[in-house]
Symmetry: C2
Subunit: 222 residues, 2 copies
């Protein structure tokens, strides 16, 4: 890395920390210059605008999120094992983040009413993440490991709900059991979404209730 | 209402609107004085502190929320019908709020890292709401209309997740199908939580698979 890139990365790392404490709107060139013992114009030289800096921070969060959650899960076999790995890591990431919480979730509230390039960047990243999860879900449906009568976007919404509630309960309510509950609920939701082939007893009992009798005559009439 | 109370209510109504646009932190005595065409000291005379004003705004939101969601649902019979009514109204309230979103949800992100009386007030209100919903769920479990092997706080978390996702998808992502999806997912979650008496065939088939045979002898030994 060249010196300029190093400084830029150091500024972004410091801004990411600041955003964890005070939100994306808490990132100002002045505060960053103070943290970095640089002049405001020095910080400005690396970014050009506060918005560019905020977007760089969102991207840094995205890289960290991918490293923590998505990439390790991609080493699991396609299908339900990979979906489970993603969800488990997502919950752990949200439930144990060193106190600052998820910048995307906090940023959603900050930015939802502020049109502009920072909001657009966040929306693009969240949609990108949803696409990754949808792909993993679709693969599990194809492999007949998840039910095909449950719209994948519904399962995505259920799982995203678990993560949002965890973030809320852990950070606002300081619930000591938020993490355990999130794991339990996600596990149950995935269980309910699992394809029936995973619960052969249900099929067997259905078969037993309906022996292969000939259909009543009227069904055979033209 | 005395004139002082009227003025106070008008200030709170204006602050509630302002909070919908700029968040709780966006409420300042200066901005409010401008909106109300009053002096800052005039606004200050009614509240004493910005925090007191912010708490008054949260309480105003609570009253509106109770009027919209909880009170109408309390006219439904106890048990699953009341739980369903609460959830339906909660989703409608979140999905159709005139654009400003839910102040409690937005406030959670703003306040979770800011200890103090405003945060305490919000936590108290959210817990109060959760208690109301838990009571309705517990009544439905008692009436054998909801499963008793599903912890009520888990069902609460699942339903709260639906609302948080709706808020997120509608406001940040501007998803046109967020509301329909929220209704569909909540309906499915409540269906899965409904007691087996609503699906008698499952019980019947279980009984058929295990006829009342005498237990093996070793179970009867001391």
């Amino acid at each position: 890395m060249k010196k300029g890139e190093l400084t830029r990365s150091a500024i972004v790392a410091s801004a990411l920390e600041l955003a964890g404490l005070e939100g994306l709107e808490g990132i100002t060139l002045g505060k960053l210059a103070e943290r970095m013992a640089m002049s405001k114009s020095g910080v400005f030289a690396h970014f050009g605008s506060r918005e560019e800096l905020q977007i760089a921070v969102l991207k840094a969060h995205e890289r960290r999120f991918a490293d923590d959650v998505l990439l390790p899960a991609l080493s699991r076999p396609r299908g339900l094992p990979r979906v489970r790995a993603i969800v488990e890591r997502w919950i752990d990431h949200t439930g144990s983040a060193g106190g600052s919480g998820c910048l995307w979730i906090a940023g959603a509230s900050e930015l939802d009413d502020r049109p502009g390039p920072v909001r657009d960047a966040l929306v693009g990243m969240v949609r990108g993440w949803q696409r990754e999860l949808m792909r993993a879900i679709a693969q599990a449906v194809e492999a007949s490991e998840l039910r095909d009568d449950l719209p994948p976007e519904d399962l995505l919404a259920e799982l995203f709900g678990v993560v949002l509630v965890l973030h809320h309960d852990r950070r606002l309510l300081r619930s000591p059991d938020a993490l355990a509950r999130a794991r339990r609920v996600a596990d149950r939701l995935l269980g309910a979404a699992a394809a029936a082939s995973r619960a052969p007893s249900a099929r067997a009992s259905r078969a037993r209730r309906r022996p292969a009798e000939p259909r009543p005559a009227r069904h055979r009439l033209p």
